[in-house]
């Protein structure tokens, strides 16, 4: 069942198109990653899907209903700023959320938060704060969970635990939409949607997004002048170890510009490079 749906969503601020005719869908039990550069429109899209921002055009649907008419208890949200009260303890934050949604106080022991129940949020590590924010967002058992960069600043084990929780939430039937800057986390998602300048530019599994994408590898003998000429074609030239990687250019064009004595070859693009090529 489609639980989250953006149907031709747009958001304009004056002449700026923050989101431009973006469509996406997340099924129940699915984790979809929303990837894009800063300012690409990820947070704006999420806020429209949550009913926190009114679209300029298009419609945001939750379980097939316009989001404005949907019971808030069906939705959970962890914003970038976490939305916790820093001067309240973990227990007080969780109790406030539980009371607001009219649900039973969740089990802090099971969430691994019993040891910090009486500590103020502001005194906890970011990883622990994020676990509290997750618990608050899931306390009312929402069918839709929207997470804005949920693992930012968290150590590797903390990230693994948070992703475990995200997958558990999806396995219980919730639809999860998550934005991230960690390219390796794209692998944790069932599908990804790439956004550039407010528009959806690609979607599918990581393998599907990369499929067929190639970059050009250039040996370190290339001169700065020749690399400038490559960049002038609109390609992205990146220093990589002793050599260079060129994204968004044809091998023969690059070979012609750097000269016959420089080794040039076509190589499979990384996910990051495919991302750059699609975003350009």
């Amino acid at each position: 069942m489609t639980s989250i749906e953006a149907d031709s969503l747009s958001k304009r601020y004056g002449n700026v198109h923050a989101v431009d005719d973006l469509s996406l869908a997340v099924q129940s039990g699915e984790v979809v990653g929303l990837l894009g550069a800063n300012g690409a429109g990820k947070t704006t899209t999420m806020k429209m899907l949550l009913g926190l921002l009114t679209p300029s055009s298009g419609i945001a649907l939750i379980a097939g209903q316009p989001v404005r008419s949907v019971d808030r208890r069906s939705m959970g949200y962890v914003p970038q700023g976490l939305g916790l009260y820093r001067d309240l303890t973990v227990s007080e934050n969780v109790a406030f959320a539980a009371a607001s949604f009219g649900v039973v106080f969740p089990d802090l022991e099971r969430a691994g938060l019993a040891d910090v129940a009486d500590q103020r949020i502001g005194r906890l590590s970011l990883g622990t704060q994020r676990r509290v924010a997750f618990l608050v967002a899931r306390a009312h058992d929402p069918s839709v969970l929207i997470l804005d960069e949920p693992t930012s600043g968290v150590g590797p084990l903390g990230r693994a635990h948070l992703w475990e929780t995200i997958r558990e939430t999806a396995a219980s039937g919730a639809a999860v939409l998550v934005s991230t800057h960690h390219m390796d986390e794209a692998e944790e998602c069932d599908r990804v949607v790439l956004v550039a300048r407010g528009r959806g530019v690609a979607s599918g599994s990581v393998k599907e997004v990369i499929a067929g994408a190639v970059s050009v590898s250039v040996s370190g003998d290339a001169t700065d002048e020749s690399l400038k000429a490559v960049a002038a074609t609109g390609a992205t030239v990146l220093a990589d170890g002793p050599g260079w990687r060129v994204v968004g250019a044809d091998r023969d064009v690059v070979a012609g510009l750097v000269g016959p004595s420089v080794r040039v070859s076509e190589v499979p693009a990384t996910f990051e490079e495919a991302f750059v090529a699609l975003s350009s």
């Binding site: 800063n38 970011l126 990883g127 635990h161 800057h181 390796d184 990146l238």
Partner: protein
């Protein structure tokens, strides 16, 4: 010539921010310090450049060391060119040489078209590129960058790493801290920190090769020593014993760091 820290510990009152950390910094090579918030990355950067006193251990650095703090260090009320001019004058660089160096840096950082924009009008990625340009303007022997890519999108991060790579090719030692584990392989040396202690160190190959025990892949969670990874589960066997129902797999850096964190929890 090698610089860096040797068996260094740093404490703030009762809090141990760095615990017996060793890292060597060599000309032409990039060392990447990776860890989450509170891991000790900033303390290590500040210790290397002499802004923190060590409790124990030794620190060495060249006379020409430049440090870019997490905030980028850009003056937001000055233009790009004014920021660079100000730093050049601060270092007393020859004006003709400084002008040529500034133009070169504007070029390689893709900031030439933004030279007259105020610092506050730059995107996060442009501010960080300007910050690194300011740090390398005086051609230091050692460049220390504290979380230059935090908060930047993947494209800005790639551009910044390209510039960092160029700086190392010019022969300087570079220390970069980051919260992004997938950036660690961009360096020659890796130091993974968690709550001030070293989880993994050395080259990528060394870090993977020295992981204790064996790693397995499973389609389900298998006890406290397993964690979710991609579309399956990883299971760590500390003593290397086979795990029934799971197949052995080759660890990568993310696995090595997670194993080290798990091992720390077991103590």
């Amino acid at each position: 010539m090698t610089w860096g820290v040797e068996s260094v510990s740093v404490a703030f009152g009762d809090h141990i921010a760095l615990d017996d950390v060793t890292l060597s910094l060599e000309p032409g090579r990039i060392a990447v310090v990776v860890g989450g918030d509170g891991a000790g990355k900033t303390t290590l950067c500040r210790t290397v450049v002499g802004l923190e006193e060590v409790t124990t251990g030794e620190v060495s650095r060249p006379p020409r060391t430049c440090f870019q703090p997490e905030s980028s260090g850009v003056w937001v009320d000055l233009t790009v060119i004014e920021n660079l001019d100000f730093v050049a004058r601060g270092y007393g660089l020859d004006p003709v040489h400084a002008r040529s160096r500034i133009e070169e840096l504007l070029d390689v950082t893709n900031l030439a078209d933004a030279r007259d924009r105020l610092g506050r009008q730059l995107s996060g990625g442009m501010q960080q590129r300007l910050g690194v340009a300011m740090a390398v303007l005086s051609e230091p022997e050692l460049l220390v960058l504290d979380e230059p890519t935090t908060g930047l999108d993947p494209i800005s991060r790639l551009e910044l790493w390209s510039f960092i790579n160029r700086s190392a090719r010019e022969g300087r030692a570079v220390l970069v801290s980051t919260t992004y584990l997938d950036e660690a392989p961009r360096g020659d040396m890796i130091l993974a920190l968690d709550e001030g202690r070293v989880l993994a160190s050395g080259s990528l190959d060394e870090a993977v090769r020295t992981m204790p025990g064996k790693l397995f892949e499973s389609d389900r969670k298998m006890g406290a020593l397993s964690w979710h990874r991609g579309r399956s589960w990883r299971v760590w066997s500390p003593n290397g014993e086979l795990v029934p129902g799971a197949s052995e797999t080759v660890p990568d850096l993310a696995d090595v760091v997670t194993v080290a964190a798990l091992a720390g929890e077991q103590v």
